[in-house]
Amino acid sequence: MIRKNIKYLAILALGLVACEPEFDNPIDEAGTYTSGEADFSNFVALGNSLTAGFADGALYITGQENSYPNILSQQFAFAGGGEFTQPLMADNVGGFSNDPVNFPPRFVLVFDADANPVGPATFTGAAPSTDFTTNLGSSFNNMGVPGAKSYHLAAPGYGNAAGVSAGLANPYYARFASSATSTVIEDAVAQNPTFFSLWIGNNDILSYATSGGVGMDHNVTGEQNPQNYGPNDITNSTTFAGVYSQLINGLTANGAKGVVLNLPSVTSLPFFTTVPYAPLSPLDSSFGPQIPTLNGVYSQLNIAFTFLDVPERSIEFSTTAASAVVIKDESLADITDNLSMILAGTFGSLAPVIAAQFGQVRQATAEDLLVLSSSRVIGQLNADRVAELTMLGLPQEMAAQFSVTGVSLPLEDQYVLIPQEQTAIENARMAFNATISGLAIANGLAFYDVASVLEQASNEGIPINGGAITSTFVSGGGFSLDGVHPTPRANALVTNGVLDAIQATYGSVLPRVDPADYGTVTLSNEVN
């Protein structure tokens, strides 16, 4: 009897095992996903902030975890992909403890007491704890360096921590540079990648754009030596082609395959599309009542403009609709001297001061792009300018009248991208993109046209599960709170596009990700 029972128990145990459910076509079985002609065992990603996972104006751990190469590596893992290491920051605050002014913490989205969004603000719930002089070692799969331009990847000393404060080196690269004289590309090649991604060149035009075009366009100057470049300049396209080719040659030297991404339009970023050119509402209690006075003063100027044959520079604020801001357009002929003579009748000895302020000025049009940071100054009294004007002899009250930014004090160059600057950016981008796609074809690399995706996001939006991704600031889901860098959700979208490109070139069959599973912006009211 006992023996019999034991037999039954054994049958029961067997039954338990046999009853486990199993799929007809289990995906964890070999053969579902394949790497094709590619070998993902050692994947190294090269690039700038977009590769590093920078978002919300800072680099922080969860942003890095949602970087497009990290998401990509998780998909590569289905077909031979190895471990993917990243030089993770010390916290989810972002910024550097040893330079929190230049590298502040991330932005978070603030809500008011009625649960309505107020806007982005710098997170103050904790202080930055990452020290860029702490070197983590040079062997990381994600070699993305926030802020890097194309030529920086091949610049010796770019990771020298001692050069950071002088602006000669990059603190993000300093964290994992193999030496004070190493280059990013050398450190990448030294890892013997079997597969690489390269997305570089964005900053070669972006820093010019975000600075409102204050830098120089070296496609105009003809300067090809990047050692002579300022931080906000546009890289010469021949220089770009030379560096890009050097990077590709280095990465493919040992037969590695890879994917390259082109450069999306920077002027479609929310950083340039959020602040309207005509933000001055007559309903605004601090602006509306001033309109008659302002128009009275400007009518004097407008007479002078007409007299000087530049009537198109006339400035007038509407009492019924939003008006355009007053901007300085450095492409206009400077009429300060003539203006000064004409205004002498009205303003007497103060005429030269007033004329200097309006020598290259007009109202903005729909063709001008105001940068995101302009929203903090438009309509605000510029105290520095008040002091300046007072020094120059204006009475205090009058000095204040001529110091309201964008209204009576023209918005400076750094806040406005005028059409000529936009053209310079776009021309450079086209030239860079021609280089990228040309070298991709010449080297048989996978090529992802990420530029067209941003275009779709900023036009009709990209449908996803449960909604759409657009490039609308804060609410669109595509861009983080700095208005430039993608959200994790946009990184997921990029990952899928890269996987499409890899599949087309190398025949790799890999699962995609659902962008709806990736977040957008982070809420917090810990902002002091």
């Binding site: 009853c19 076509n25 969860t62 449960g466 977040g519």
Partner: protein, 415 residues
């Protein structure tokens, strides 16, 4: 008896879904072995559940049946496009049932039953791909039912009684696919309530045209469990007025335990009994799971179940004086409609295969053993009514497959 009852109430009973919806078919060891038939089988005190009208035809004055099963369930999920493969980590469920009947005189019997016809425990890995719908859920409903049975003639009887239900729920899921605090920890909500009670009733009838042929009917009423002021815990939300505050609040919700109609027959031939049951379960009452929180938030989850049927077949063979063998099969249709397949009750149409044996120890005592294996068909299904973080309607789906295996043991005592 009182002691036993208390014991059952105090024991933390973990229930597992292994039928359509959250209906649990483990209401008696002898019945389980015969495909969970029994509306027309006069066999033991299990009739308290299956058809109280039949109690009055039991031969003995006192009948007691006690049983428990150990239920092993497993659900697997995959999505080939997204490379997701996940498996539940459900604990072993141990549903109990206790039945007793007493023949007061030759035309009336009374009985008492404690059983667990509804429940569900599904535990997915925390933060898995469908965590916005469920991380884990544990539903349990214990039915306590006194019955009375009247013999109107040797051919016809009726029976029935009130049902007292006490239920509990613990349900955790993430706030959305993406909401996290500043450290990236997923925001989630747990609702927990127990001692949620309500009343219902059941009624049965039995007709015996001949000595060896019986027809049965039974109906169990719908009972709505209303949780009022249960505990809801919001955790890991970011520190923002744009989202709910972390901490404990209350919730109100309703969960219907559907009505069930059973008709069936049994035929006795020498040492054999054949039984056929048909169940109709009125799941259409489960339209939506609406949770209203004390902090003013609501969670609306359309379910839109449809009524479903179960077809059961069982056979018993008296092999020797001591040993009785049983076997059965049933086909259980899912009440879940396409587009409403939520991973909290991931059940498709299923086939149940059952068997068992009774060993007569003495003339008064028998040991009943049973097992069943329930095989749910593989299904490509999705839940298309999720709410995205921006208020849109989102979908979650893939391929589901599940199974349940349950060995059980019980005692039958007659006096």
């Amino acid at each position: 008896m009182r002691k036993l009852l208390l014991l059952v109430l105090l024991v933390s009973v973990t229930m597992i879904t292994y039928a359509g919806g959250y209906r649990v078919s483990v209401q008696g060891q002898r019945a389980i072995a015969m495909g969970h038939t029994g509306v027309a089988v006069v066999n033991s005190a299990e009739l308290v559940f299956f058809n109280p009208a039949g109690l009055v035809y039991l031969e003995n004055e006192l009948n007691v049946s006690v049983g428990a099963s150990a239920v092993f369930t497993d659900v697997i999920f995959q999505n080939e496009e997204l490379g997701i493969f996940t498996e539940t980590d459900n604990s072993v469920g141990t549903p109990l049932n206790i039945y007793a009947s007493y023949q007061v005189n030759n035309w009336m019997s009374v009985g008492l039953g404690v059983y667990t016809p509804y429940g569900s425990e599904v535990t997915w890995p925390t933060d898995w791909a469908g965590s916005q719908l469920v991380n884990n859920i544990d539903l349990a409903a214990i039915y306590i039912q006194p019955v009375v049975s009247f013999k109107l003639s040797d051919h016809f009887s009726i029976g029935g009684g009130p049902i007292y239900v006490t239920g509990s729920v613990n349900f955790n899921r993430n706030a959305s696919r993406t909401t996290t605090d500043i450290e990236g920890v997923r925001s989630n909500i747990t609702i927990d309530d127990s001692g949620v009670s309500n009343w219902g009733w059941s009624i049965g009838a039995m007709f015996n045209p001949t000595n060896n042929f019986r027809l049965g009917f039974s109906y169990r009423s719908e009972i709505i469990l209303e949780s009022d002021g249960g505990e809801a815990v919001f955790a890991n939300f970011p520190n923002s007025t744009g989202v709910p505050a972390n901490g404990t609040t209350t919730f109100n919700a309703e969960l219907p335990l559907p009505a069930e109609l059973t008709v069936g027959l049994s035929y006795e031939y020498e040492k054999w009994i054949f039984a056929l049951d048909y169940n109709r379960q009125y799941w259409d009452v489960y339209e939506s799971l609406d949770i209203n929180f004390g902090n003013g938030r609501n969670s609306i989850n359309p379910r839109n179940y449809k009524n479903s049927s179960v077809y059961r077949f069982g056979v018993q063979y008296e092999a020797t004086d001591k040993i009785t063998l049983r076997a059965g099969y049933y086909r259980d249709e899912t009440p879940v409609q396409p587009g409403f397949f939520a991973p909290e009750t991931p059940r498709n149409d299923s086939d149940g295969f059952t068997g068992g044996v009774s060993f007569t120890v003495t003339s008064k005592l028998a040991i009943d053993a049973s097992f069943f294996y329930l095989r749910f068909e593989e299904i490509d299904a999705s839940y298309d009514f999720g709410t995205s973080s921006t208020g849109g309607t989102e979908t979650f789906g893939g391929t589901y497959k599940s199974s349940a295996f349950a060995p059980g043991l019980g005692l039958t005592y007659k006096l």
